[in-house]
């Protein structure tokens, strides 16, 4: 087990091998993500029953929850990559942070926008400064901050380290987002999907929601693979394998 893990760490830690392997994976992951999203969203929008209180407006959940969850998971992954990058000075970790940040920011924005639109017919307002909404806005700023750091600092090594540090420290905010609805009185309700407890949703609504969530994770992976591949090509542009790759 440990040996295989170590093997993969070294294989994917090498830009060249990562480029080759990710190229093989990419079409399949893309196909699965798009198909999953199509099935999940059509099921959620057209086939799932309405909610007894909110009617059909609750169907925004099939985008809102997967986007929010993907945004948080992405940040967590970025935090782990940041730690690996700072401690082990692994080049691929810096590439990973750069590859994760843009789509993470998009998913955070999607979660905020869909939540705001959903809030109007349900709560009666687009926005309140409660702990959940505010901490989610901070998540967006953290993502944008990481992107800005990468672009603002000239030296790529320094830029990578600064971004890695912000990625690690920003994980605190992920914890705050997650527990904000329990620590403070907020307008936002507690989470619906629970792993240890019974989920507060029947199977005919939960199934499409989980499919959407899984597909959004896959779509996130697709964007990360594409961006990581771009970054690798550019960083390794002087090496022979890149020359062969771009001319072949």
């Amino acid at each position: 087990m440990w040996q295989t893990l170590k093997h993969w760490y070294h294989l994917l830690g090498s830009p060249r091998h990562f480029y080759r392997i990710s190229g093989l994976w990419l079409p399949w992951v893309t196909l699965l993500a798009v198909a999953g999203l199509a099935v999940g969203l059509v099921w959620g929008l057209a086939f799932a029953p309405p909610d007894y209180q909110q009617g059909n407006s609750y169907r925004i959940i099939f985008l809102h929850v997967p986007a929010a969850s993907g945004a948080l998971m992405g940040y967590l992954a970025m935090g782990v990559a940041g730690l690996v990058g700072l401690v082990w000075r692994m080049k691929m970790a810096e590439v990973a942070i750069k590859a994760i940040a843009p789509f993470g920011a998009v998913l955070t924005a999607v979660a905020l926008i869909t939540g705001s639109i959903w809030g109007k017919p349900t709560w009666g307002t687009y926005w309140v400064w409660d702990a959940r909404l505010t901490s989610m806005l901070i998540l967006l700023f953290l993502y944008l901050g990481i992107i800005a750091l990468q672009n603002a600092i000239r030296d790529p090594r320094q830029a990578g380290r600064a971004a890695a540090l912000l990625a690690v420290v920003g994980v605190i905010n992920v914890v705050i987002v997650r527990y904000s609805v329990y620590w403070w009185h907020s307008l936002h309700q507690p989470r619906t999907i629970r792993i240890t407890d019974e989920t507060a949703m029947p199977a005919e609504m939960l199934a499409p929601l989980l499919i959407c969530m899984f597909s959004i994770y896959l779509l996130f992976a697709v964007t990360v693979l594409i961006r990581a591949r771009t970054e690798i090509l550019w960083r390794e542009r002087r090496s022979n394998w890149v020359r062969e790759e771009v001319t072949g």
Binding site: L45, G55, N56, R59, V106, V110
Partner: protein
């Protein structure tokens, strides 16, 4: 299918503006981000290919 007709589906039980605007904006954001990523990849590849081609031309001379 929960809805009886396409019209009803589009109306979303009077919640159409909320549901469809949420889905529309999200679709635009996600698709444009994917497109940007793919375009950046193509651009870098093309630029590097050009670079290699220029170099081999210089070597021949």
């Amino acid at each position: 299918m929960y809805f009886d007709s396409l019209g009803e589906f589009l109306q979303m039980g009077s919640h159409a503006p909320w549901v469809w605007s949420a889905y529309g904006i999200s679709l635009v954001l996600v698709v444009s981000n994917l497109w940007l990523a793919a375009r950046a990849h193509r651009n870098v590849r093309a630029r590097l290919a050009q670079w290699v081609a220029d170099e081999s031309l210089r070597e021949k001379r």
